[in-house]
């Protein structure tokens, strides 16, 4: 990062009234602008026609198993933290057609499905979400193969990040070192300030593309006071965070504790509902659906999101390898925090807290890890001793 000086060419200020032009300019350049908006009382990521579509004045209250979206009378555009959805739904779509096939008598032919679409511009990407996108990059560009559906969307995407000026109720990005401040991977990063007499954004430029777009908007270089406010705001957000994940030697910890009694404990609570995998910004598992029409002459192959919590996920001839909730929960958590590191070189968790908020029974992964770390494993505990009566 460049050293800051009196008038750092990388940091600017945009006033609220000029923010609307940002979306307009992006649209003009041919981007599909998507960002947070409120539909049916829920905060979702969807196409934005203008800044008015943003959740102005909305904020959220989150806790394990609890989410409330409410208006607080503020004029802030980004006064909330995270909804249930993650940006992965645009880069790694929930359903995607891979090819279609046609039968010709005994034989058949298969045609690749090629879709072209306009690049996305993401508005309001939090630092944890930036890291999640970086993590997915490592998953989908894995050496011999590239997920081209992901790659095509990823290459073109324009990212306007937003630094969090308040912590969400379940956030722990600070302890995962994924935020709250966006440091890389964005084109522009905004920090919003709403004062009684001034509503403005401090803008950091992260790329050439970002600089280009900024040139078309009315902006001023940021002053020292404004830059300092960003630092203070970030520090305040960190201080607000109510939980931490101790990641010290976490890989070894989980590898060594496949039979820890805590797994039985969480299995008693987990409903195997798969919410956590749906809301998690890094969960990437999919399944392949081969389908045909009634005549049997036309076939399609689709890819769609899947979850390791389903009984089908690990099914091989006659049974599921992970028939108990205990084993499926363990698979998810150990993958997210441990085996992911061996597979892709990073952790799989960004500390966004979604899995904690959206778990119907409020399972908190920071608590689960803490329990495994702290409880001495009884030498007499074995899997036979436990009877969690699940299926």
């Amino acid at each position: 990062m460049k050293e800051s000086n009196q008038h750092d060419p990388e940091t600017f200020v945009i006033e609220r009234q000029h923010f609307d032009s940002l979306l307009a300019v992006l649209k003009q350049r041919g981007y599909r602008v998507v960002g947070p908006t409120v539909h049916d009382g829920a905060l979702v990521y969807d196409e934005l026609t203008s800044a008015d579509d943003l959740p102005v004045g909305y904020t959220d209250e989150q806790a394990p198993g609890t989410y409330r979206l409410m208006k607080n009378g503020s004029k802030a555009l980004f006064g909330f933290t995270l909804g249930a959805q993650a940006w992965k739904r645009f880069l790694h779509p929930p359903t995607a057609q891979l090819w279609e096939g046609k039968r010709n008598g005994d034989t058949f032919e298969i045609k690749e499905e090629k879709t072209k679409q306009a690049p996305y511009a993401f508005i309001g990407v939090r630092s944890c979400e930036l890291h999640a996108i970086g993590i997915l990059d490592k998953v989908f560009f894995n050496g011999n193969y590239v997920d081209s559906t992901y790659a095509a969307r990823r290459r073109g995407v324009f990212i306007v990040a937003v630094n969090c000026t308040q912590a969400g109720g379940t956030c722990f990005c600070a302890s995962m070192q994924t935020g709250p401040r966006a440091t890389a991977g964005f084109d522009l990063a905004l920090t919003e300030f709403v004062d009684p007499n001034r509503h403005f954004f401090v803008v950091e430029v992260g790329s050439k593309r970002g600089a280009e777009i900024l040139r078309d908007l009315p902006h001023e270089p940021a002053g020292e006071g404004e830059k300092a406010r960003v630092e203070r705001s970030v520090a305040q957000t960190i201080a607000q965070m109510g939980r931490t994940m101790d990641t010290k030697n976490i890989k070894e910890l989980l590898y060594k504790n496949y039979e820890h009694p805590r797994w039985n404990d969480v299995a008693n609570r987990c409903l195997s509902c798969a919410n956590c995998t749906m809301v998690c910004p890094t969960c990437f598992c999919t399944t392949v659906d081969d389908m045909t029409d009634l005549t049997g002459d036309h076939a399609e192959r689709w890819r769609r999101w899947d979850s390791c919590f389903t009984m089908d996920f690990a099914y091989i001839h006659g049974g599921s390898i992970r028939a108990t909730t205990r084993s499926r929960y363990r698979q998810w958590l150990v993958h997210k925090l441990a085996t992911w590191i061996d597979q892709f070189g990073t952790t799989g968790c960004v500390g966004c807290g979604r899995c904690i908020t959206w778990c119907p029974v409020g399972i908190d992964i920071t608590e689960e890890v803490k329990a495994i770390r702290e409880t001495k494993r009884s030498p007499t505990t074995s899997i036979e001793d436990t009877n969690n009566g699940d299926s």
Binding site: L98, F284, D306
Partner: protein, 289 residues
Amino acid sequence: MESIPDIETGEAKGIVEAMLPTLFGIKAVRNETHDTFTLDLEPVNGPAEFSFKAGQFNMLYVFGVGEVPISISGNPTDSSVLIHTIRSVGTVTKAIRRLKRGAFLGVRGPFGSHWPVDEAVGSDIVIVAGGIGLAPLRPALYHVLSQRERYGKVVLLYGTRSPDDILYRRELERWRSRFDLDIYITVDRAPSGWRGNVGVVTSLIPKAPFDPLNTTAMVCGPEVMMRFTVQELQKRGIRGEDIYVSMERNMKCAIGFCGHCQYGPMFICKDGPVFSYNRVKDFFVLREV
């Protein structure tokens, strides 16, 4: 952001291309047992040869029904025909069973790691197969026999449920008459009149003729059979790094993206299916992993 490998220049294969099956025609269908059969396949378009390494697998697609991972069981030194031995147990394999000569299948592959037939040169070879596990091991045996002089003793230990479940019977009988190959077969149960061994395949290990200090063992079969087989092999003195197993898990994409085939940190489709026992030993003994 990671720099994205270029699909256009062929630096990496794109997922859609890698998910497109290639058309193969069924040249022959042979019944092996009541529920297992062997297909001879040849490509319809493109190169007339299909090359693979012993231990690898393909994804076989039945139009409109689905896709399933099946080990290749042919001779890796003969690329003119693609051979698969398939057990009819689920929707897709039952649909494959209904196809006749002249019908077509989609094939993607070959995928996965292979048996260490080149690394094992100079050592004794012990192949322990259980049930359909002989199908992924047969290519390794073909490879070894094609360069027989480069290896020491070669022993095949094969266990099945009953005499009716023995695969490749004629071929085994032919191989039996070789002087440079020891074959021991056992079944879990047999009708009276069976003159062969009855007993579990692990019981063949203590007396099998190989030098444990210079042996490469390749094991394939149901996981429980592999677990006990590895124990017996180690009891004879073979080191964990010289024992290889072939693992199986649910697979959807075979290219490391769908996440289904994970086994601890390993993806069976790209890190396996063949593993050195040392690599998987910590997970081998865990349940529901």
